[in-house]
């Protein structure tokens, strides 16, 4: 039977991809970010950690969906997904290869669980989906695992509530566990952390909020899931609302988890960045060494 063995969070900002493609990933600015991710890359490259399939939760940034069609929760059931052209040509990365058997199984299961999914059989994927793959796997000819893209609307208001996202994660876990094939499945929650990309308030970063969020995500997700949208907006910036997607990942794990790795960095372009590896406590592996890394911003002074 398939299992959700791991939850991962990752930033998905386009500047990370640009840093890789322009050979800047080791410069003064980007070096600490890629150093922070290197630990995850080494961890995930081990055969026992490499997922067979990733359920990749992200938001479409007005790429697959325009203003004519705005699904709250969509799920990609196609054989493959092409990188979208977001205005500078498609990202030079491999097609994302799906897992239609598992994806349809999850889609059907979620609808039976009263989630009103939008099933997608043709869809381009934007930086929200492909950047986390680049950060985990570098620049391979083909991505080393199958991916089920799960776009969430966090652009046009209202996005789904935190509680709805958390419950969706729980139903994803149950769906994975009722799939007969023996698969190592990851659920990745991407985007966030605090950032604002618009208006005079652009550039907002809230370190305290972010670190509390990470702590609560690990230790008390149920309470965290009740946080209203306005709190995200006030505290974490208008685009910080992407963090509700992390609750989908967290909902797919049991109440007790172990954080194998906990990386937080300020800034990556306009945003704070958080990258976690979480596993169910009962089946958790060894924490990485170091287990926690904080870098950039005011941490640099410490």
């Amino acid at each position: 039977m398939a299992r959700v063995t791991t939850g991962i969070t990752s930033s998905h900002i386009p500047a990370l991809g640009a840093a890789v493609e322009t050979g800047k990933s080791q410069d003064d600015y980007w070096g600490p970010v890629f150093k922070g991710y290197q630990a995850i890359r080494d961890w995930i490259a081990k055969p026992e950690n490499m997922p067979d399939v990733v359920v990749l939760v992200y938001n479409d940034h007005a790429s697959a969906f325009d203003q004519n069609i705005i699904p709250t929760f969509a799920i990609g059931c196609a054989e493959k997904f092409k990188p979208a052209d977001e205005g500078w040509g498609p990202r030079p990365v491999p097609d994302v290869v799906g897992h239609p058997d598992l994806a349809w199984h999850i889609a059907q299961s979620l609808i039976l669980d009263d989630f009103d999914m939008c099933i997608m059989n043709e869809m381009d994927v934007d930086h929200g989906c492909t950047i986390p793959l680049t950060m985990m796997f570098g620049e391979p000819e083909q991505w080393p695992c199958k991916v089920i893209p799960l776009p969430v609307n966090v652009v046009t208001y209202p996005p789904p509530s935190g509680a709805r996202c958390y419950a969706l994660g729980d139903s994803i876990r149950a769906a994975v566990e009722s799939f007969p094939e023996d698969l190592n499945v990851h659920v990745w929650g991407t985007g966030g952390m605090s950032h604002q990309l618009q208006g005079p308030r652009a550039g907002l970063i809230n370190k305290e909020f972010d670190l509390d969020f990470i702590d609560q995500l690990i230790n008390d997700p149920e309470a965290l899931s009740k946080k209203p949208h306005i709190d995200y907006l006030r505290e974490a910036g208008s685009e910080g609302i992407e963090l509700v997607m992390w609750l989908i990942m967290r909902g797919a794990l049991p109440e007790k988890v172990r954080d194998l790795y906990n990386f937080y960095h300020i800034p990556a372009s306009n945003t704070a960045l958080g990258a976690l590896i979480l596993q169910p406590e009962e089946t958790a592996g060894e924490p990485l060494e170091p287990r926690r890394v904080l870098s950039g911003g005011t941490f640099a002074k410490a």
């Binding site: 900002i13 386009p14 500047a15 640009a18 940034h61 007005a62 790429s63 325009d66 203003q67 004519n68 979208a84 052209d85 977001e86 205005g87 500078w88 040509g89 009263d114 652009v155 046009t156 208001y157 209202p158 605090s194 604002q196 990309l197 618009q198 208006g199 005079p200 308030r201 652009a202 550039g203 907002l204 970063i205 809230n206 370190k207 909020f209 949208h229 306005i230 907006l233 006030r234 505290e235 910036g237 208008s238 685009e239 300020i266 800034p267 372009s269 306009n270 704070a272 950039g296 911003g297 005011t298």
Partner: protein, 140 residues
């Protein structure tokens, strides 16, 4: 099994709160509707041939869209605050600054009234503090 909702969020309060954040336009239905054609114009720049046509003659390209003259001017001036006032959303408008080969940091910085250098410096030093930036009414 889904049951009828027992407690509901008051949507009027919910939407009113969205307007209480300094220097921020939350992309509510009101803005989405106002900016529909502007955002769809931006989406059209996902095709290389449209980008070329747009860059070759911006005004002519914009005239193909049901966008107010003011909003067209905001586009041609690359005034992102004004575009957002006209209902634009930053993820849609990203297709415009990408067409210009500009980054999210450039676009975000351009809206703050700061120079790109000062904005980059602020970000490096930990970003803009939320202090006093959370609520217009509450001033906290």
């Amino acid at each position: 099994m889904t049951e009828k909702k027992k407690e509901r969020i008051n949507i009027h309060e919910y939407l009113a709160e969205m307007e209480d954040i300094p220097g921020t336009r939350v992309f509510t239905a009101q803005r989405a509707r106002k900016g529909y054609h502007l955002n769809q114009f931006a989406m059209s720049l996902m095709k290389a041939e449209n980008r070329e046509r747009f860059l070759a003659d911006e005004k002519a390209y914009l005239d193909e869209w049901d966008i107010s003259e003011e909003a067209k001017k905001a586009v041609m001036d690359r005034d992102y605050n004004a575009m957002i006032d006209h209902g634009g959303n930053i993820y849609y408008l990203a297709k415009l600054f990408s067409t210009d080969k500009k980054s999210f940091q450039f676009a975000a910085g351009s809206m703050t009234g700061m120079s790109q250098e000062d904005y980059a410096k602020m970000m490096l030093e930990g970003g803009r503090s939320p202090e006093g930036q959370r609520s217009i009414k509450g001033k906290y």
